[in-house]
Amino acid sequence: MRIAVTGASGDYGRLLLPRLEADPGVESILVLDTKEPPPISKVEFHRVDLTRYDAEAELTDALTERPVDALFHLAFLFGPILNGPLAHELEVIGTMNVLTAVGRARLPRLVVPSLTVTYGARGNNPALLREGSPLFGCPHSRFVNDKVEVEGQVRAFRERNPDTRTLVLRFAPLLGPSLDNPATRLLSHAVVPTLLGFDPLWQAIHEEDAGRALHLALRAEAAGEFNIVGRGVLPLSGLIRQAGAQPLPLPGPLFRGALRALGVVGAGTLPVALLDYMHYSWVADGERAESALGFVPLHHVRDAASALRRSQS
């Protein structure tokens, strides 16, 4: 089984590559990336910059030259970056290029990671969001909305290309010692501001579980979207405590103003949009991943958070 991976040097790539390497069924890994991947025996490296105008042609060439059985499109950001246009190029346009190339090369399988934050934290979310729930995104977050757009592209692609088994894995916030994303950054502070009077339910997934889910997607018979979440839920304050920090409830307007100010200055390490996720719950139901993908999370949210704590100390 030959596999192509974009964005292999990202967090997802780092979680997945070792598993593919260890998987005896995998013959070769074609890495399509701007950065050289870690030297692994199975890896073939092909430099492709997804943000370039000719990325699609390059991808098509690479994929037709060396046909693969599956493509993991992992070239995504894990949090908002200051350069919004670049993020948009990478996520939305890059995905468009990849989808086009995959369609041309008629690959049998495409795996795209996404995030449960695309559901949006809203007051009228049901207690558990199933995969069919609409993706409302987050009105204030370009990052989240880019993800939503990517999901839309992928869904459209899936409908047009039924021969390509397309799996979208919506991950709960990933927590783990090796990750750097808004959630881990949030939890790495000694004191984490929260919204006074609100304590939404959070999910999280341990990085090992996330890697396992990605790997499972390689052979799954199902297609479509899957919520990949850890076991259980925790209130935000509980998550913070588990991560070894202290929640500091702040009145909403004050908090919002402070975050905005920090964001304007450019010093903000926390996206303003995170506020929504501190206000309302967005709990995704991992039932489908379990039944169709065969993914059973091994780690409870608690463990994921405390793994973070261990990594800090």
Partner: protein
């Protein structure tokens, strides 16, 4: 020992010795010298004062050495008991030039706590004019008396005699010297008085020392040395005192003495080191015209003053308090030293420190000056006193803690623990504590800091519910005395319990869930749906969610019914909870019949439920616009739940048999079923209201 323990107990806690202060002490000797010099210079103009100053400063210079020697001797003989040690240290500090202040601290420590401290804080006499510093006889008496109870050996008597003799001679010489330059009508009498005074002070000092010590031979020498030194040192002061007394009006003095006594420092004996101070005192006293603003030293002087006269029943001067403060401060230093000494096993180590004490004096004055109420610069600021006192007292005692006091404290502590244990063991108290804990948890949860790690998918926190159970039990059983009727009619498996919503704060869902939990343990845990306005209300919504409320939405309801849970719904929604008190128990429109559609789709039976009592528990008295919090309005209600009696009556279930799930799309059918449910509930409500004779007793 008893003295120390009893008197000082209250302060003991704060008494950790601080290393930093030792340093201060080290600085003392220089300061002492300086001050002496300053005094001398000032006094130059006046014959009297000049003399007194000179002699005193001379005495001072000597004093430190003598003190040292004494200490050195005493050191090895230090008694084992901590209290005794403390005393000794005090004694030592007296011997030292700079250490006089200690006495005050010490003295106050010996007294029952409140007594000394409070009087010191208030300046009994504001007047700077009070010129002469009164002496406090009672102080001495106290101190001496305190040590009395301890056994005296013959040795001790001997020592005392020797010491007193030495003191007397010393006093005589000193006084004579002082009086030489003075002329006055009663000079002879004065001289005698002064001598007596001095001798007495010296003697008391000796006694004090002896009290502390074991009475061995070394001590004798020490005692003698002390006596002499004290006598010398005191002489000037005593003379001044005597003179002043003549000048001061008798009434004033008596008054002052009366006032001062309790608050006074009684550390007569310690005065040893007081030479300079006294000098300063003397200074101030005699020439009212030009009291050299020597600050601290004066203050101390004042102290010394107070102290020495102990022996004499003579009238005191007013307004000592301020000075006392200063004195006490000094004491701290002295005390401090003593502590360090105690800690350092070898007396030799101690000595260097001992000599130093005076410096602190110098340092103190500037800070004090602004505070003092009295014009006299030497007086100490009252406000600080409490602190200082505490510190001063505490410190000397500290070392004592391990044995006598600590033992007792440990005993008390264990007793207290036992009592607490017993109390906790009693069921009621235990429950109360548990309830408090639960409430705290609830508070934290609602603020959003609760944490909690045992949440289910809907957000119910089993841990919180558990810790809040005592409160819920109390509310359910004793406060609201919920009576439940017809609960057997609730079918097993999924069912929709439709109830009237009532009260400004929706306790009813919680109570329903509790009622089902208690009366029908065979059913799965019930959940209740709450409208968005409550669910997303800050704090309240969070808390309710953790207690088991679920946001009212078809998805959630379906999921809960799929789990075969009884589901409590309030179709009136927010309107039901926000109807004015006048419209209580009158059902509002039942939403859009969502619960009927649910029932039709899932086949779950509808059980009408009437709840009476919730309206009176939190009557809606008015509304506050609450848009800024995301509420349509904030209910104005009783500050807490009122103890109305609750009755919950379950009606006969409406089964969905014979009705196809498609009927859910038939609005007419839905409407019909909705109306039936509504009528059923209204009927039960009216019946319950008719049966109810009193809101609060049922």
């Amino acid at each position: 020992m008893t003295k120390g323990v009893l008197g000082n107990d209250p302060f003991q806690r704060g008494a950790a010795p601080r290393t930093g202060e030792v340093k201060d002490d080290a600085a003392h000797p220089k300061a002492a010298k300086k001050s002496a010099a300053a005094k001398g210079a000032k006094s130059a103009g006046k014959a009297k004062s000049a003399r007194g100053g000179a002699s005193k400063s001379g005495a001072q210079a000597k004093a430190p050495k003598g003190g040292k020697a004494a200490e050195a001797k005493q050191g090895p003989a230090t008694p084992k008991t901590p209290a005794a040690k403390v005393h000794k240290f005090e004694a030592r500090s007296h011997e030292r030039g700079g250490a006089r202040h200690e006495e005050d601290a010490h003295a106050s420590g010996q007294h029952p706590a409140g007594e000394d401290v409070s009087p010191l804080r208030e300046p009994s006499v504001p007047g700077p004019a009070a010129g002469p510093r009164a002496s406090r006889p009672q102080v001495l008496a106290d101190e001496v008396g305190g040590s009395r109870p301890q056994e005296r050996t013959v040795d001790r008597a001997l020592t005392e005699a020797i010491a007193s003799e030495a003191a007397e001679t010393a006093a005589k010489t000193a006084v004579d010297e002082l009086f030489e330059g003075r002329t006055g009508p009663d000079r002879d009498i004065e001289r005698v008085l002064a001598t007596e005074l001095v001798a007495e002070v010296a003697e008391s000092a000796v006694r004090q020392v002896l009290d502390l010590g074991n009475g061995d031979a070394g001590e004798r020498e020490v005692a003698t040395a002390i006596a002499t030194q004290v006598a010398e040192a005191t002489a000037g002061v005593a003379v001044d005192e005597v003179m002043d007394r003549n000048a001061a009006s008798p009434e004033e003095r008596t008054l002052a003495s009366a006032e001062d006594r309790p608050g006074e420092a009684r550390g007569l004996d310690e005065d040893e080191g007081a030479d300079e101070v006294w000098t300063a005192d003397a200074w101030r006293r005699d020439p009212k015209d030009a009291p050299p603003p020597e600050e601290l030293e004066e203050v101390w002087t004042a102290d010394a003053w107070r102290r020495d006269p102990e022996g004499m029943a003579a009238p005191e001067e007013p307004d000592e308090d301020d000075r006392v403060t200063g004195v006490e401060r000094v004491e701290e230093d002295g005390v401090h030293i003593s502590v360090s000494i105690i800690e350092g096993a070898a007396p030799t180590d101690v000595e260097p420190e001992v000599e130093l004490p005076d410096e602190s004096h110098d340092e103190l004055p500037p800070s004090r000056r602004p505070l003092s109420l009295v014009s006299d610069p030497g007086e100490a600021p009252l406000p600080d006193e409490a602190e200082r006192d505490a510190r001063g007292f505490g410190r000397p005692e500290e070392p004592a803690a391990p044995s006598g006091f600590a033992g007792r404290a440990a005993g008390m502590f264990s007793l207290a623990k036992e009592i607490a244990g017993q109390a906790l063991a009693s069921e009621g108290l235990g429950r109360a504590v548990g309830a408090m804990h639960g409430l705290m948890e609830a508070m934290r949860t609602s603020l959003g800091t609760g944490g909690g790690s045992r949440l289910d998918d809907y957000g119910k926190d089993a841990g919180l519910v558990e810790s809040l159970q005592p409160v819920l039990d109390f509310l359910y059983e004793q406060y609201w005395r919920v009576s439940v009727e017809g609960v057997d009619q609730v079918p097993r498996g999924a069912s929709i319990l439709v109830a009237n919503h009532s009260g400004a704060l929706p306790y009813d869902g919680l109570v329903m869930a509790q009622a089902l939990l208690r009366e029908r343990p065979d059913l799965l845990e019930a959940r209740w749906l709450v409208e968005d306005q409550v669910f997303h209300a800050p704090m309240l919504g969070t808390l309710f969610n953790r207690l088991g409320a679920v946001r009212a939405s078809p998805e959630n309801a379906l999921r809960l019914l799929d789990e075969h849970r009884p589901l409590v719904v309030f179709p009136e929604g927010y309107q039901g909870a926000s109807k004015p008190f006048a419209e209580r128990y009158r059902l509002k429109r039942f939403g859009r019949g969502g619960f009927v559609k649910l029932a039709l789709r899932t086949g779950a039976p509808i059980v009408p439920v009437a709840i009476v009592g919730a309206e009176e528990t939190s009557p809606l008295l008015g509304r506050i616009p609450g848009g800024f919090l995301g509420f349509p309005s904030l209910p104005l209600t009783a500050p807490g739940p009122l103890p109305a009696k609750w009755t919950i009556r379950f009606g006969e279930p409406l089964t969905m048999e014979g009705l196809a799930p498609e009927a859910a799309d038939d609005l007419g059918e839905v409407q019909r079923l909705t109306e039936r449910t509504r009528e059923s509930i209204q009927r039960m409500l009216q019946a319950l209201l008719r049966e109810r004779r009193s809101v609060f007793t049922g």
